[in-house]
C-alpha cells in the first residue's frame, strides 16, 4: 500500500536524522520545549475549541486538566533540563584506583507515543515533553476518537517543533497496528489493558521496552471524621473527582467508594449536596459537564445500569440523553459485586457506593482485586493510614484528596500489575525515554598482576582479598606475611 511505504520511508528518515546527532544537544532540546510552550500559548483558543467539540469540555476544565498542567510540566522540564542531562558519578571502592565511573543518560533513538481520547492534548504532549527533553525523535499517534484534537495536533504541532524529528500520525486502529509492527526504541502507550496486551506483544517482537499507562477501578476509602469541615471537603473532592474530571472518564478518576454502613446516610446526603453545588439544580444545563465520548461508550455505560439488579440500586441521578451523549451524575448504593459495574472499570459518571461493616474491611476488599492505578483514602487516623500503605498495592496512594498526584512533578505516575508498567512525569519522563549508560574510564598505568593467568594459589588468595576489600590482607599476602589458606 502506498501509505505503508510512506510511513516506513518517513521512519527511516527520522532514524537517519537521529543518527546525525541533531537532537542530542541541549539547545535543540530546549528549543523543542520552548516550541511546545509556544504551541500551548498561541493555539490555546483552538485547543479549547477542539476539546469542546470532541468532548464538550469547558475551557476552564481544559485549562485545568490539560493546557495548564502541560505548561507547568514544560516549564519544569526547562528548569531542570541541564541537571537531568548531566552525568552522575558512581561510587567506586578504594581498590579501583585511577578509575572513574559514571552514569551517562543518552537518548534511546526513535520512540512512539500512543495517546488516548479523554485528555487528548494532555496525554499526547506530556510524554512528548519527556521524549524531547531526553533527545529523541518522536512519532505521536493521537486517538481517532477525538478527531478535532487529533487534526490540530497533526497540522499545527509540527510547525512549532522540528518537523524532521517530530511527526504526528493520524488514523484508527489499522494505523496503530501498522505503527506497532515497526521497530521502536521505546513505546509509551496510554489506554486500556486489552489493547496494552497487543502493544506489549508487538513490542516483544522487537524487544522494545514499553511504558503502559492503563487504568483500573480506583477506589475511595471513606473513613469517618470528627469535624464536619473535613467531611464537607472530602465529599466535595470525591464528587468533583468522579463527575468533573472528563465526566469520570479518566484513568485516575474515582471509580467506586467504600464507606462504613452506619455513616452511609450522612455521606449520601453530602454527596448529593455537592453534586448540586458543582453542577446546579439541573446538571444537564450545566456547562461544566463533559460529554460521554461517543455512542459506543454511552451504550456501554447505559448497559451497566440496565442490569435490573443494578438499576434498583440507583439512589441519585440516572438520567440519560443519547443524542447529547449526556449522563447525569449518578450514585448507586451497593450494586451486586458480581455485576459488570463492579467488575469492569466504569470510566463514566456512575458512582457505586459499597458499604462495609467496618471500614478496615475495605483493605481486604481492595487487595483481593486487581491493583488499581490509584487508591484514595480519606482518614484522619494514622494507624489506618499505615495499614493501608502496608497492605494494599496501587500505582499511587493518596490521602485526603483525589487525582492531584497527576500534577506533582516529583512523583512517579504509573501503574502496577493490570494498571500498567513504567512511570513518567517530571524527571521520570526524562528517565523513561533515556538509556542510563554505565561508563568506566581506567588508566593504563597500573594493574594488579594477580588478575592474569597462569593461575596459582597465591593469586587466588590475592583476588579473594581484593574482592573482600581486605586491603590489609592484600598487603600481608604480597609481603609474604600471610599464608594462603
Amino acid at each position: 500500500m502506498e501509505t505503508t511505504v510512506l510511513l516506513e520511508d518517513d521512519l527511516e528518515d527520522m532514524r537517519m536524522y537521529y543518527r546525525s546527532g541533531k537532537t542530542r544537544g541541549e539547545s535543540w532540546r530546549r528549543s523543542q520545549l520552548q516550541g511546545l510552550l509556544l504551541f500551548l500559548k498561541k493555539k490555546e483558543g483552538e485547543i479549547f475549541e477542539a476539546l469542546a467539540q470532541d468532548l464538550g469540555k469547558h475551557p476552564i476544565e481544559a485549562y485545568r486538566d490539560e493546557v495548564g498542567s502541560l505548561t507547568k510540566s514544560v516549564n519544569y522540564a526547562l528548569n531542570c533540563l541541564s541537571e537531568w542531562m548531566s552525568s552522575k558519578k558512581a561510587k567506586l571502592p578504594l581498590i579501583a584506583i585511577l578509575t572513574t565511573a559514571e552514569i551517562v543518560p543518552e537518548p534511546l533513538g526513535l520512540v512512539l507515543v500512543i495517546s488516548t481520547w479523554n485528555f487528548p492534548i494532555g496525554l499526547s504532549l506530556e510524554p512528548l515533553i519527556g521524549a524531547l527533553a531526553a533527545g529523541n525523535c518522536v512519532v505521536l499517534k493521537p486517538s481517532e476518537l477525538t478527531p478535532k484534537c487529533s487534526f490540530l495536533l497533526a497540522t499545527a504541532l509540527p510547525t512549532f517543533l522540528d518537523g524532521k524529528a517530530v511527526k504526528v500520525v493520524e488514523g484508527d486502529s489499522t494505523t496503530g497496528e501498522r505503527l506497532l509492527r515497526q521497530k521502536w526504541d521505546k513505546i509509551l502507550f496510554t489506554g486500556s489493558s486489552r489493547i496494552a496486551r497487543e502493544v506489549l506483544a508487538a513490542a516483544a517482537e522487537h524487544l522494545t521496552p514499553v511504558v503502559l499507562e492503563l487504568g483500573g477501578k480506583c477506589p475511595v476509602i471513606l473513613d469517618s471524621f470528627s469535624r464536619s469541615w473535613d467531611k464537607e471537603v472530602a465529599a466535595q473532592r470525591i464528587t468533583w473527582a468522579k463527575f468533573n474530571a472528563c465526566a469520570g472518564q479518566a484513568c485516575i478518576a474515582v471509580d467506586y467508594v467504600l464507606v462504613e454502613e452506619r455513616f452511609i446516610d450522612e455521606w449520601l446526603e453530602l454527596m448529593k449536596t455537592w453534586i448540586k453545588k458543582l453542577f446546579g439544580e439541573n446538571p444537564k444545563q450545566s456547562c461544566c459537564n463533559a460529554r460521554i465520548i461517543n455512542k459506543h461508550h454511552f451504550t456501554r455505560l447505559r448497559m451497566l445500569l440496565e442490569d435490573p439488579k443494578v438499576q434498583s440500586r440507583v439512589v441519585h441521578g440516572g438520567d440519560m440523553d443519547e443524542d447529547n451523549l449526556y449522563i447525569e451524575p449518578t450514585i448507586l448504593l451497593n450494586p451486586p459485586l458480581q455485576s459488570a459495574i463492579m467488575m469492569d472499570e466504569i470510566f463514566g459518571p456512575l458512582l457505586p457506593i459499597i458499604t462495609v461493616k467496618n471500614i478496615e474491611d475495605s483493605i481486604q476488599f481492595i487487595s483481593s482485586r486487581p491493583k488499581p492505578l490509584a487508591i484514595y483514602v480519606f482518614t484522619e487516623r494514622e494507624s489506618f493510614r499505615q495499614r493501608i500503605q502496608a497492605e494494599t498495592s496501587s500505582g499511587s496512594l493518596i490521602f485526603n484528596d483525589v487525582i492531584i498526584q497527576y500534577l506533582a512533578d516529583t512523583l512517579p505516575f504509573g501503574g502496577i500489575g493490570e494498571s500498567g508498567m513504567g512511570k513518567y512525569h517530571g524527571k521520570f519522563s526524562f528517565d523513561t525515554f533515556s538509556h542510563h549508560k554505565a561508563v568506566v574510564r581506567r588508566s593504563l598505568l597500573v594493574d594488579f598482576w594477580f588478575r592474569f593467568p597462569p593461575w596459582n594459589e597465591q593469586k587466588l588468595q590475592l583476588l579473594r582479598s581484593a574482592y573482600d576489600y581486605d586491603y590489609l590482607g592484600l598487603l600481608l599476602i604480597v609481603l609474604g606475611l600471610k599464608r594462603s589458606s
Binding site: 485549562y63 512517579p412 538509556h435 583476588l463 574482592y467 573482600d468
Partner: protein, 492 residues
C-alpha cells in the same frame, strides 16, 4: 531450616502447567501472608544465602568444573566472590534502601507532603543462564529477596550439575514457602511462563528473550531482560599495548573462554596498528595459556556439542577459515577450542553477524579509527563496548556517540563488578538493569504516596467556573507564588 525444594526429581514433563499453577497459588498465599515483606525475613534469607555460598564454595567450584571445565580461580572470583559481595552489600544497605524517599511538593499541590515508597512486586520468576550459572541465578534472586518478593528460580539445564546443586542447596538453606527452584528445560520453562508473574528476569539470548516477553505480554508482566550482543573493542595506537592486550585477553578468554555476555566479541583497529596489536596479543596469549592452549587448565571448555558445532561452523565458513592467523585448534572429545584470532573476515560472514560467545576473536581493520563508530552503530546496540586509547578527545567522542549497555575505556568487563553502576542492555541487548541498589529497585514497585490536608483547599478547581477562579487557577498551576498573590488581589 527450609523445606524441600519443589523439584520434580528428574527434569521431565511432570512439572507441567498444573504443577506450575499449584506452585503459584502457594507462593501467592505465602506472599499475601506478609512473610516476605519484613526486614527481618529479608535479612535472614540473605544471610542464609551467604552461608550457602560460604559453606559450599568447593561444591560450587566442582559443579562448574563439571559443567564448564571452569578454572577454579574463575569460579571463585567471578561467581562466589561476586555473589558474596552482592549479598554483603545488600545486608549492609537494605535498611537504607527500604526507606521511603521524600519527594518535594510544589505550590501547585500546597499543602501536601509526598514520598515514594518501595514495595515488593509479589511473586517473581528468575530464569538464569548456563555460563555463570551461580552468579546469574543468585544475583537476581538477591535483589528479589531484598525487595521482599517471593521468588522462583529456573536455572539453566545446559549446566546440569550447577542446576542440581542450586536446587539442592536452596532447598536446604532457604525458606521453601517463598523461595523455590524449578529444574527443567523447555517444557518446564513453558509451564512457568504461562503463569501470571509480577516480574520476570531473564538472562540469555535474544531469541528466547522475545519468547519470554511475548509470554509476559499476555499477563502485562514487566520484564528485565539481560541479553547480549556483539561487544566491540576499539583499539587506538597510542596505548600501553602490553597492559591493553592483557586486559582484552582477560575479558575474552579469561571469562569462561569467551562465553560471557560482556566478552569482547570483535576488535576494530587501524590497518597500520593491527600487526603490532596482533603480535602483542599472541605474545600475551602464550604467556597466559602456554604454547598449547588446548592443554591449559586455565581455560573453560565449550559448554556442549551444540555450541561446539556452532562455533566450528563459524570458523569453517568458506571465506572465514582462511582468515585465521592464530589458534584455530580444537578437540571435539574434550569440547575445547583454542584462543583463535582472525583478521579482516568479510562483514557479511556468519561470524560477524551473530554473537560469537566463544574463543574466536575477529579483528577488523579500518583506515581511520573514527570509522569504527559507524561499524558499531550500524549493528544492534551491544551490552558493552570497549575502547583502548590515551586520546581524551577521542575517548569522549566514543562515550558520546557509541550506544551500548555500558562502556569501559581502557579495560574490559570490569563494570560488572561495580555495584554502583546499573548493569543492563539497551535495544537488542536488553531492557532494565540490576546490580547493587538497581537490583532492589528493579524488583520493587515505586509507589507514589501523597498526603494532603483539608485546609487550604482551593475551590477554584471546582465548577461553577468564574473569571477569578480562572486567574487563580492559572497562577496555582504555574506554581508561582507571586502570580498567586497577584491573582488573589484581583490582578494578573
Amino acid at each position: 531450616m527450609g523445606r524441600e525444594t519443589q523439584t520434580e526429581g528428574k527434569p521431565s514433563a511432570s512439572f507441567d502447567t498444573v504443577a506450575a499453577s499449584a506452585m503459584m497459588k502457594e507462593l501467592q498465599a505465602a506472599y499475601c501472608s506478609g512473610t516476605t515483606r519484613s526486614y527481618g525475613w529479608r535479612i535472614s534469607q540473605l544471610k542464609c544465602l551467604l552461608r550457602l555460598t560460604e559453606d559450599h564454595g568447593e561444591d560450587i567450584a566442582q559443579a562448574l568444573r563439571s559443567d564448564l571445565s571452569k578454572p577454579e580461580l574463575e569460579s571463585y572470583v567471578y561467581e562466589i566472590s561476586m555473589l558474596k559481595n552482592s549479598i554483603n552489600l545488600a545486608l549492609k544497605e537494605l535498611k537504607k534502601w527500604m526507606l521511603p524517599e521524600k519527594a518535594k511538593t510544589s505550590l501547585t499541590t500546597f499543602p501536601s507532603s509526598a514520598e515514594i515508597v518501595s514495595e515488593p512486586l509479589g511473586v517473581v520468576l528468575v530464569i538464569s543462564a548456563w555460563n555463570y550459572p551461580f552468579l546469574l541465578s543468585l544475583d537476581p534472586v538477591i535483589g528479589a529477596i531484598a525487595a521482599g518478593n517471593a521468588v522462583v528460580l529456573k536455572p539453566s539445564e545446559i549446566a546440569p550439575a550447577s542446576s542440581a546443586l542450586l536446587a539442592k542447596l536452596m532447598g536446604e538453606y532457604m525458606d521453601g514457602s517463598a523461595i523455590r527452584v524449578v529444574e527443567g528445560a523447555v517444557a518446564e520453562t513453558t509451564a512457568l511462563l504461562e503463569q501470571k508473574w509480577d516480574k520476570i528476569c531473564y538472562t540469555g539470548n535474544c531469541r528466547v528473550g522475545r519468547i519470554v516477553m511475548a509470554a509476559a505480554a499476555k499477563h502485562l508482566t514487566p520484564v528485565l531482560l539481560e541479553l547480549g550482543g556483539k561487544c566491540p573493542v576499539v583499539v587506538d595506537s597510542n596505548i600501553n599495548l602490553k597492559v591493553s592486550c592483557r586486559r582484552i585477553i582477560m575479558g575474552k578468554w579469561g571469562c569462561n573462554n569467551g562465553q560471557a555476555c560482556i566478552s569482547p566479541d570483535y576488535i576494530v583497529t587501524t590497518k597500520e596498528y593491527a600487526p603490532k596489536l596482533i603480535d602483542a596479543l599472541k605474545k600475551e596469549l602464550e604467556r597466559f595459556f602456554g604454547r598449547d592452549a588446548l592443554e591449559s587448565p586455565d581455560l573453560s571448555r565449550i559448554v556442549n556439542t551444540n555450541h561446539f558445532s556452532r562455533l566450528t561452523k563459524l570458523l569453517d565458513e568458506d571465506k572465514v577459515s582462511v582468515k585465521v592467523i592464530y589458534g584455530g585448534e580444537r578437540d571435539q572429545s574434550k569440547l575445547k577450542i583454542a584462543p583463535t584470532i582472525l583478521l579482516d573476515v568479510p562483514r557479511d560472514s556468519l561470524i560477524m553477524n551473530e554473537e560469537i560467545f566463544g574463543p574466536l576473536l575477529p579483528i577488523l581493520t579500518v583506515d581511520k579509527l573514527e570509522d569504527s563508530f559507524d561499524i558499531i552503530n550500524s549493528g544492534m546496540k551491544p551490552l558493552a563496548a570497549y575502547l583502548f586509547t590515551s586520546d581524551n578527545k577521542f575517548r569522549e567522542r566514543f562515550v558520546r556517540n557509541v550506544s551500548a549497555g555500558g562502556l569501559v575505556v581502557n579495560d574490559t568487563a570490569i563494570h560488572l563488578a561495580v555495584p554502583s553502576l546499573p548493569f543492563g542492555g539497551v535495544g537488542d541487548s536488553g531492557m532494565g538493569a540490576y546490580h547493587g541498589k538497581f537490583s532492589f529497585d528493579t524488583f520493587s514497585h515505586k509507589k507514589a504516596v501523597m498526603y494532603r490536608g483539608f485546609i487550604g483547599d482551593a475551590d477554584i478547581r471546582y465548577p461553577p467556573y468564574t473569571k477569578t477562579k480562572v486567574r487563580l487557577l492559572q497562577a496555582l498551576v504555574s506554581g508561582s507564588f507571586l502570580a498567586i498573590i497577584r491573582a488573589l488581589f484581583g490582578r494578573s
